[in-house]
């Protein structure tokens, strides 16, 4: 298949449509506005619905409504807008509604800036909204990987009945890369597969199949049962859905942990370090929830590995999961900046060299 040069935001939007999404609700915010712009032109061509909401709060609630009918629904925003969506995301998680949410991360906190960042890792994987819930959360490091994840994101969301979150830094959305775009998936709501959805129940039908899309369980025991059910789903997803990449870690003495586009900068540093005779490697979580704890531990907790360097475009967020995985077995250092300043290849290289010198 031929490769096409596409801007990340447009490629991700097109992939969502190819994956069967026919409903998009969103609100403009830099650096992801190209996604709603693309959807506004493309959705009518495929008989879908693009609707610009009055706010991110409304957009995620429109997602809640449309997802409640069983359709494949997507919304996108950037960090401050994702904060506004947290109420609705928690409700989607509580009501077990499958949907896809794209966060094209920019610098924070507050209004921050409009440049690429990884400052929403905590928000994405440690909660964000109220209550005990998780989102299947993916951190693509290339436009192609974002497309490939999108092609199974709705299936995963539907399998586990939980929202999927893309944690993409602004670079993924803004850069152009050659990509292979998959064929269009033929998706139709199947009421048999989605007995929980609003598909036209009427009095006389099986009362158990009347849709009540809801996250309220007013009795203590009922809420406990509901949360047990959610936790069982999370345990299953956690066991089955971990994705990661190892790059030159077999003989590595220094392992870099990084996600998203930062991992690509780290790869360049690793290649240069290897040319200098320094054995460095990369562990890159692709799913950041579930975090591949065991696989990181297997990569790092062996003879020969001297230390781990966690690199992020924030003040150190994923490093908490990295340390949990390693559990004190190896020293873990951090390199990162907030304010959207991406670490350079040179910086990463020098940091590893300094660690090697024991500085």
């Amino acid at each position: 298949m031929a490769l096409t040069l596409m801007k990340g935001s447009e490629a991700i939007a097109e992939a969502a449509i190819r994956a069967g999404a026919r409903f998009f609700f969103g609100y403009p915010i830099t650096p992801q506005t190209e996604i709603p712009e693309y959807m506004s032109a493309r959705m009518p061509e495929v008989g879908g619905c693009f609707l610009q909401a009055e706010s991110e709060v409304a957009a995620i609630n429109m997602v809640y409504g449309a997802a409640g009918t069983g359709e494949r629904v997507i919304t996108s925003s950037s960090s401050p807008g994702i904060s506004l969506k947290q109420e609705g995301i928690s409700y989607c998680a509580g009501a077990q509604l499958p949907c896809v949410i794209l966060n094209v991360m920019r610098g924070g906190p507050g209004l921050g800036n409009i440049q690429a960042s990884q400052g929403d890792y905590f928000q994405g994987v440690k909660g964000g909204g109220n209550g005990d819930y998780h989102l299947l959360t993916y951190a693509p490091s290339s436009v192609q990987e974002a497309i490939d994840i999108m092609m199974f994101a709705f299936e995963k969301a539907e399998k586990y009945r939980m929202p999927v979150l893309f944690l993409a830094d602004g670079i993924i959305a803004q850069m152009m890369e050659p990509v292979e775009m998959p064929e269009m998936v033929d998706f139709k709501v199947d009421p048999e597969k989605k007995p929980w959805a609003c598909t036209g129940w009427k009095p006389g039908d099986d009362p158990a199949k009347r849709a009540t899309i809801n996250s309220l369980y007013i009795n203590t025991e009922d809420l406990a049962v509901h949360n047990d059910r959610l936790q069982a789903v999370y345990a299953e997803a956690s066991a089955n859905e971990q994705l990661w990449e190892n790059y030159k870690t077999e003989d590595a003495e220094f392992v870099i942990a990084a996600f998203g586009t930062v991992a690509r900068i780290a790869k360049s540093a690793i290649d240069e370090l290897r040319e200098m005779g320094v054995k460095a490697g990369l562990f890159r979580p692709i799913s950041v929830w579930p975090f591949p704890y065991t696989h990181l531990a297997e990569t790092v907790c062996r003879e020969g590995v001297k230390a781990v360097l966690d690199v992020e475009v924030n003040e150190g967020q994923m490093i908490e999961d990295v340390k949990l995985a390693i559990n004190g077995a190896k020293p873990v250092e951090f390199l990162g900046h907030c304010g959207s300043q991406f670490p350079t290849t040179e910086e990463i290289k020098n940091k590893i060299l300094a660690m090697k010198e024991g500085k």
Partner: protein
């Protein structure tokens, strides 16, 4: 023996949790009967609010979604866009709709969203125990306006029907009450008209229903109804505030 009356099939057998003298029971029944009489069963989705009627999803015998506080019109928008031929209604109180949900209701009206909103206005927050709402009358005592609502401090009560009638996208707005048999019948007629407009693909419709809250007003049901007639109706005049269908 012949059956002369049956409870509508569009209400479940679940016992209402509403307080004695509350008007939600009457209004639920009117909505449910309207759906049944218009043969819309199997083709209707309701959206419940946060507030006293939060459990409406247990009472209306159709597909239902429970929305976050104030967000019902946005949720209904998502449903309606996915199922354009289905009757979609929201059922919201005055705290939900006129306070935290103002953006969602104004913009649903503004878009001419083809949904119907049943707006139950009892001038107080019921579920949380009787706090001041945007609709609380001047001088009315609540648990957060213990000296009576002071207009200079927190404004005059908001008139939702009048406000939404000004929004170009709204199609039909009527304020009703269920204080007398005649008004109950008028309310049902208004609900059916709104549902009819939606099924004809017209724009946004809202039926405001003035309602009592004996528990939080500190009155018995009879006193509460009298208070509604003497205080609420003069400030919130009943009648059609907009009807594009009648104008056409």
């Amino acid at each position: 023996m012949s059956v002369v009356f049956e409870k509508t099939k569009l209400l479940t057998d679940k016992q209402f949790h509403y307080c004695p003298g509350c008007n939600h029971g009457i209004i639920h029944r009117l909505v449910a009967e309207a759906i049944e009489e218009m043969n819309l069963e199997g083709n209707v989705v309701g959206v419940a609010p946060v507030g006293c009627s939060v459990f409406a999803y247990d009472y209306f015998n159709c597909d239902m979604l429970e929305a976050a506080h104030g967000r019902a019109p946005a949720v209904a928008t998502g449903v309606k866009r996915a199922k354009p031929d289905t009757l979609v209604f929201t059922y919201q109180g005055d705290g939900d709709l006129a306070s935290i949900g103002t953006a969602e209701i104004v913009h649903a009206a503004h878009r001419g969203e083809k949904i119907c909103t049943i707006f139950v206005n009892n001038a107080i927050y019921g579920m949380t125990g009787g706090q001041m709402a945007p609709t609380t009358l001047v001088g009315q005592k609540t648990t957060t306006s213990p000296y009576g609502r002071d207009e200079s401090w927190c404004g005059a009560p908001i008139k939702v029907s009048e406000m939404l009638a000004q929004v170009p996208g709204s199609y039909y707005i009527e304020r009703c009450a269920v204080d007398t048999n005649a008004n109950i019948l008028k309310t049902k007629k208004a609900i059916k008209k709104a549902f009819q407009y939606q099924m004809e693909g017209k724009g946004f419709c809202l039926i405001e229903v003035l309602s009592t809250c004996p528990t939080n007003w500190g009155m018995n049901p009879v006193e509460a109804m009298k208070w509604l007639e003497e205080n609420m109706i003069p400030y919130y005049p009943l009648g059609v505030h907009k009807d594009k269908g009648a104008a056409e």
